[in-house]
């Protein structure tokens, strides 16, 4: 009661620093240990960043040059990409025909970009994809419309990586949905078969599935039916992805309230009508973010085909690096393809995050 504030004496709050200084104080120097961390990081940055810029840009060999010339330079040898860049991107594909895979990749990326817009989802998009895949297959394989035939042991590089990923997902996705439905089925035999398949595949590393596909499929099939290496790898990848996608779809199915199933039954819909019209549209919408994450994992996983001897992006780079002279340029080569993988996967993951937040608000608004 003794403290009295007299009018006229009231002053404003103490003046706080604003702008850059305030930001620095709040975000970099708010406690003593944060200040210490900031100083350590800035000191490390001063040591590392200039050296990296030197290596990447200033001291690098930018023009085409033999590997010997690179050895004298202190920086990166981008001459390696001059020499081997097209081999890395296209593998053994005939040099003069490489516009075809380029166009195919552009077409595929365009389709993916269009599919990213939710407004485009619908029948027309499905038709566009079907046409696009036919066009891509025609471009890569040739043998019609005046395009020369290129056998698939010459396919490689980025088109192969994208092809294995897209074809793998196109086949694995419906298979995964069927497996997920089977796992949630009331029929014990169907359920047992689906559970056994999913757990078997998810329990083992992809590489054993690929070994199985590449070594056992020829044993499993009659002699006269031979499947080439690429198709075997693709089958292995599809089998693998289907099991993982099934679990993601199952997660979506489990999130649908029972009332939806019961309402569909009450309307007299058959099992497939119920799933197609009521349950799956909702379950798949919920499952989109984890589905995209599974897609990203799958795109990265296709790099494992190098172990069974295919020339995908990583395989082509490895083979380019195995040539005498270029061997020490592994940093440049791996950095280049790491950047390609990163751009693809990072943009997909950002897209899935954006989609997630949009779907999240949508659900909240409805409640």
């Amino acid at each position: 009661m003794t403290d009295r504030i007299e009018t006229g004496q009231v002053t404003g709050p103490p003046r706080a620093p604003t702008g850059a200084i305030r930001w620095l104080r709040e975000n970099l120097f708010n406690t003593w240990y944060n200040s210490l961390l900031t100083l350590v990081i800035v000191w490390a940055g001063f040591n590392i960043v200039p050296a990296m810029v030197d290596w990447l840009v200033l001291e690098a060999v930018w023009h085409a040059a033999p590997p010997e010339a690179c050895r004298e330079a202190a920086g990166a040898c981008w001459a390696f990409l001059h020499e081997k860049g097209r081999f890395i991107l296209f593998g053994l594909y005939p040099y003069d025909e490489q516009w075809r895979p380029t166009l195919a990749v552009a077409l595929a990326l365009g389709l993916i970009a269009v599919s990213g817009d939710r407004r485009s989802w619908g029948r027309w998009l499905a038709i566009a994809w079907a046409l696009g895949i036919v066009a891509i297959a025609l471009l890569i394989r040739g043998g019609a419309l005046g395009l020369s035939y290129v056998p698939n042991n010459q396919w490689g590089g980025l088109p192969l990586t994208l092809g294995l990923s897209i074809v793998g997902l196109v086949f694995a996705f419906p298979a995964g949905i069927l497996l997920a439905l089977g796992r949630r089925s009331d029929m014990p035999a169907v359920k047992a078969v689906c559970v056994a398949y999913i757990e078997l595949i998810r329990g083992v590393p992809l590489i054993t599935v690929l070994f199985m596909a590449s070594l056992l499929i020829p044993l499993f099939l009659p002699q006269e039916l031979s499947i080439d290496k690429l198709l075997r790898a693709q089958i292995g990848l599809i089998m693998f992805a289907a099991a993982y996608l099934a679990e993601v779809v199952r997660g979506g199915l489990q999130a649908i309230p029972r009332g939806q199933y019961e309402a569909a039954d009450a309307l007299g819909l058959t099992y497939w009508q119920k799933m197609r019209l009521i349950i799956l549209p909702q379950a798949l919408t919920i499952a989109i973010p984890p589905l995209v994450n599974t897609f990203i994992g799958f795109i990265k996983d296709t790099s494992l085909v190098v172990i069974i001897g295919l020339f995908d992006l990583l395989g082509a780079t490895k083979s380019a690096l195995s040539e005498a002279g270029w061997r020490p340029m592994y940093k440049e080569g791996y950095l280049f393809i790491a950047l390609i993988y990163f751009v693809i996967c990072y943009s997909l993951s950002k897209y899935s995050q954006a989609l997630e937040s949009r779907l999240e608000t949508g659900r909240r608004a409805r409640r």
């Binding site: 708010n30 169907v190 590393p205 590489i207 070994f211 044993l219 002699q223 996983d301």
Partner: protein, 399 residues
């Protein structure tokens, strides 16, 4: 009305098959019979083809080849092995190598992942940005590529043994691998590890007793410090009982290579580094989301109860965060173990790599792949059984 029902019943009578089909119970049975028949047919078809193919290629089936002499050397092994040993022993070497890299990798990835995950939540802008850059880069580049990069760095960028990097006394980085000082084998180290084990058991018993006492009387007990003291003390006692060995073998340059000490081969180091760095990115995200999932009200309520900062963390935040963190974390541990099979790409002799060599030599593809599957499947099933037990153990008890 009567006319309609009569015609319906007559139609049903006319086709009893349709009646069966329209009864969901019978339809389910028919579906399942079809599925079983399909599976049996496909499996039978594949088996008969396989038999025919094996006969034609004159490959004997069965695991008899495991007793034959392997004839190939393995670059690193945790127990004695040479080319005259059997395939069975070679598989065992591969299995222990897989476990070695997986167990060390799990420990290191957890430490690094927790640091990065907490770093992403740091109030320091630079730390948070660096941590999220780490997560984005490691998660969006294929693991196999990362392994190859680390292998390249170790074999190309590191110097020859003669001018090896020597960051700490006794530690050498060279393109022959990483050399570390190691204690000379002695009975004393064995008794010391027995002592540590005894200490751990004692610490667990102590923690149980302390919790019971606190539940009954409310008196707290410094469980963590006392437990740590018990473990360290018992270890030291065991070490002293075993004769208190102090000899440590320090690597020394002799000619073109090092002598003494402990070696991490370039292959092992590359696989370990790659697996650790890759998995840490995933673990960091799990840790971050687990901590974020504990609502702020919980922390505030705990403060309002008068708990100290470390008590808030230990008694309120961590138990709730761990409930969210641990299931995906075990998935990551399992993934790391499965991903260690990529070691074949850099030539680390893990299970898959040795199985692959065996399979190329003997042609026993089915047997080798069944061994892979059996090992990884029993691991996965074992861990998921543990997870189910753990989940039911820590599940929230609701009304």
């Amino acid at each position: 009305m009567a006319v309609v029902s009569e015609s319906e019943t007559s139609r049903q009578r006319r086709s009893p098959l349709a009646a069966l089909w329209n009864d969901p119970r019978y339809r389910a049975v028919i579906y399942q019979l079809l599925v079983i028949a399909g599976v049996v047919f496909v499996v039978g078809y594949l088996v008969s083809n396989t038999m025919a193919n094996l006969e034609q290629r004159q490959i004997a089936t069965g695991f008899g080849f495991l007793d034959r002499e392997a004839g190939f050397a393995i670059s690193e092994s945790m127990f004695s092995y040479d080319a005259t040993d059997t395939y069975g022993r070679a598989f065992l070497v591969g299995l222990t190598n897989t476990f070695r890299v997986a167990i060390i990798g799990v420990v290191l990835a957890t430490i690094l992942g927790v640091i990065i995950g907490i770093g992403r939540l740091s109030t320091n802008w630079l730390v948070a940005k660096l941590a999220s850059a780490y997560v984005e880069v490691t998660r969006n580049v294929p693991l196999l590529l990362q392994l190859l990069v680390w292998y390249g760095v170790i074999t190309y960028a590191l110097p020859h043994p003669r001018d090896a990097d020597n960051p700490l006394p006794g530690v050498f980085f060279s393109n022959r691998g990483i050399k570390l000082p190691a204690p000379v084998a002695d009975i004393g180290w064995l008794t010391a590890s027995v002592g540590v084990l005894v200490g751990i058991v004692g610490a667990i018993a102590l923690a149980r007793w302390a919790k019971r006492r606190q539940d009954a009387t409310g008196q707290p007990f410094p469980t963590f410090r006392a437990g740590l003291a018990a473990i360290v003390g018992a270890g030291i006692v065991g070490w002293a009982v075993g004769g208190a060995p102090t000899a440590i073998s320090v690597p020394e340059l002799a000619g073109f290579n090092f002598r003494g000490g402990m070696t991490l081969t370039p292959e092992f180091a590359a696989v370990l580094l790659g697996l650790t760095i890759y998995t840490a990115g995933f673990i960091a995200e799990i840790v971050r989301s687990g901590i974020l999932a504990v609502s702020h009200g919980q922390t505030e309520a705990a403060h309002a109860l008068g708990l100290r900062r470390n008590q808030v963390l230990r008694l309120v935040v961590l138990p709730q965060a761990l409930r969210i963190i641990i299931p995906p974390m075990t998935t990551q541990y399992l993934n790391l173990t499965k991903n260690s099979s990529l070691a074949v790409a850099v030539g680390y002799p893990d299970l898959v790599s040795i199985g692959n060599t065996t399979l190329n030599q003997t042609g026993q593809a089915i047997e080798a792949i069944s061994i892979f599957m059996a090992v990884y499947l029993s691991l996965s099933l074992g861990i998921s059984l543990f997870m189910n037990w753990y989940n039911s153990h820590i599940a929230l008890v609701e009304r």
